[in-house]
């Protein structure tokens, strides 16, 4: 069996529609093309990233994304040896559009098709970009997710901890909204924080005293809201300086929580894996340079894939599909679109039996 394979990846599980062509040859892969049709910039003027939940809208863009990805890669469907598609977790309409598109292409060309977990795509990206060897610890930190995973194989993920409420990306967006900054909030808050004093306002660092890798960010936005209202009451408004200082204080709190909990997650991982696993980070929030530098202090060998591969994309889906294919883990059941699909259903905090497989 040849290990060289050209893989078409398709991703449409949230706001973006994406397709990519990846030429895979162990131990890595070459990204021939990676097309992402996003929503964010288009809708920034409405004060938020508008969700592209309409299956139809994804479906319309999927064909174009695939066509463009093949075109940029300079190949046709006849050069593709495997199709990988995100089949969850995510917005069900988008996921279904992607899976139907992939099914059609695979059936038409008699190609093998593999369903990929979107989170596995993120979690396996350092293998594509940094040739990361198993095991390693992945901090997945985005608008909708925040979790530590011990990655031991293409299908072996152990959840070490995560947020018990909001994800940091969401906190950034909501803080931007509270302070009247533009959306998406991540870059706006980071920019404002650059000139701010992180010590003027002290925001809470919840769960820091707990001896585990769980985090909580929902109280932080409330604290920011109270601080804003206090300033408005005291001085009749908010000066640019106040915004900068609030953003700096908020970002410092996020950095502190993430670095502290990353240390704990690495300790837990060492206990499970036996050796000191390296750290990798992925997800949109990994773009924040203050967070990156805080994580670099925790683990000097930090693997941080380039930004376009940290946010949602189809190259990571192609890669995860390839790894799964090579490991012989193709499962027709994985092609059933599902909104919820935890990577690790072993260490999810289950107290008893009776968990329904279909819902997981």
């Amino acid at each position: 069996m040849t290990h060289n394979l050209t893989v078409l990846g398709i991703e449409s599980s949230c706001d973006d529609t994406a397709a990519a062509v990846l030429r895979c040859s162990p131990p890595g892969g070459e990204i021939m093309s990676s097309v992402v049709f996003g929503q964010g910039a288009l809708h920034a003027e409405f004060g938020g990233v508008v969700p592209e939940i309409a299956a139809r809208a994804h479906a319309e863009k999927l064909d174009l994304a695939v066509e463009q990805a093949l075109g940029e890669a300079g190949c046709g469907l006849s050069d593709i040896g495997l199709i990988a598609v995100t089949s969850g977790p995510g917005l069900i309409g988008g996921v279904m559009s992607g899976v139907m598109c992939a099914r059609g292409l695979a059936a038409g060309r008699g190609l093998p098709l593999i369903g990929v977990n979107h989170l596995a795509g993120h979690a396996l990206t350092p293998r594509l970009t940094d040739n990361a060897a198993y095991p390693y610890v992945m901090l997945l930190v985005s608008g909708g997710h925040c979790q530590f995973l011990l990655v031991q194989a293409a299908d072996r993920f152990t959840r070490l901890g995560g947020t018990i409420d909001d994800a940091p990306g969401e906190a950034f967006d909501k803080v931007a909204r509270i302070l009247g900054l533009e959306q998406p909030g991540g870059p706006a808050v980071e920019k404002a924080a650059r000139d701010g004093d992180p010590h003027r306002f002290r925001f809470p660092r919840p769960l820091l005293d707990r001896d585990n890798a769980d985090m909580s960010f929902s109280g932080l936005k409330t604290a920011v809201l109270r601080q804003r209202d206090q300033l408005i009451t005291d001085q009749g408004g908010l000066y640019p300086r106040d915004r900068q200082d609030i953003c700096a204080g908020f970002q410092a709190a996020i950095c502190d929580v993430l670095s502290h909990k990353t240390r704990l997650a690495l300790d837990i991982a060492t206990g499970i894996a036996g050796a000191n696993p390296p750290l990798a980070v992925a997800g949109g929030v990994a773009a924040n340079s203050a967070i990156r530098s805080a994580l670099t202090k925790v683990s000097t060998g930090l693997m941080a894939p380039p930004q376009r591969l940290c946010t949602d994309n189809a190259a990571m889906i192609a890669w995860a599909g390839y790894e799964k294919h090579m490991a012989g883990h193709a499962d027709p059941g994985d092609l059933v679109p599902r909104p919820r699909w935890p990577l690790d259903d072993q260490s999810a905090p289950l107290l008893g039996s009776g968990k329904k497989g279909a819902k997981a």
Binding site: C14, F46, G48, V49, V50, P51, I53, A54, A55, P89, G90, L91, I92, G93, G143, G144, H145, G162, T163, I164, D165, D166, A167, G169, E170, K174, R177, I178, S218, K221, T222, L225, R226, P339, R340, P342, A348, P349, L350, L351, G352, S353, G354, K355, K356, K359
Partner: protein, 161 residues
């Protein structure tokens, strides 16, 4: 206030009290019950919803992560006998998009906890309970204003919450 309407206001002085309210009403909810949670950022809508879900899951021996639904709009949970839909329409900009989510069916077959429901008000069942959470002078205290059809009175009957 019409005779078939139920209204009540509660002052809860800590997040723990909000959690206790959630745990008190959770076992009384059944498929088709829709709770609309209004209130500003930080009022505790998610906190309240999370404890309803936690309570229902604990009753059947489950304990899943309950992430914020803001980004994915809907998170669904096994609530023993039916599902719970935890929704957040903060990011929704067109009520037509509700069709895509299958909300209409969920309002009949599941327990629905809906944050930021304003955009969907015309599409939600008339039998839904409206809960408005407000912040107060005291940092930890929240005011709960409940307005719902009469049948909800039993669900919100709180001797010990």
């Amino acid at each position: 206030m019409s005779a078939d309407e139920f209204r009540t206001s509660l002052t809860l002085t800590s997040p723990d009290q909000t959690a206790r309210l959630a745990h008190a009403i959770a076992p009384r909810l059944s498929a088709g019950d829709v709770l609309l949670l209004n209130g500003p950022i930080g009022a505790g809508k998610s906190h309240f919803a999370r404890h309803i879900i936690r309570s229902r899951q604990a009753a059947i021996g489950l304990s899943e992560d309950i992430p914020s639904p803001t980004f994915l709009l809907v998170q669904t949970y096994n609530a023993g006998g039916c599902d719970i839909w935890h929704c957040d329409f903060y990011r929704l900009n067109d009520p037509q998009e509700l069709d895509e989510l299958g909300l209409e069916e969920a309002c009949e077959t599941a327990i629905c906890l809906i944050e930021w429901p304003d955009i969907a008000l015309d599409y939600l069942p008339a039998g839904a309970a409206h809960i408005t959470l407000s912040m107060t002078e005291d940092e930890d205290t929240r005011q709960f204003d409940i307005r719902a059809p009469r049948r909800w009175a039993g669900i919100f009957a709180l001797e010990d919450a």
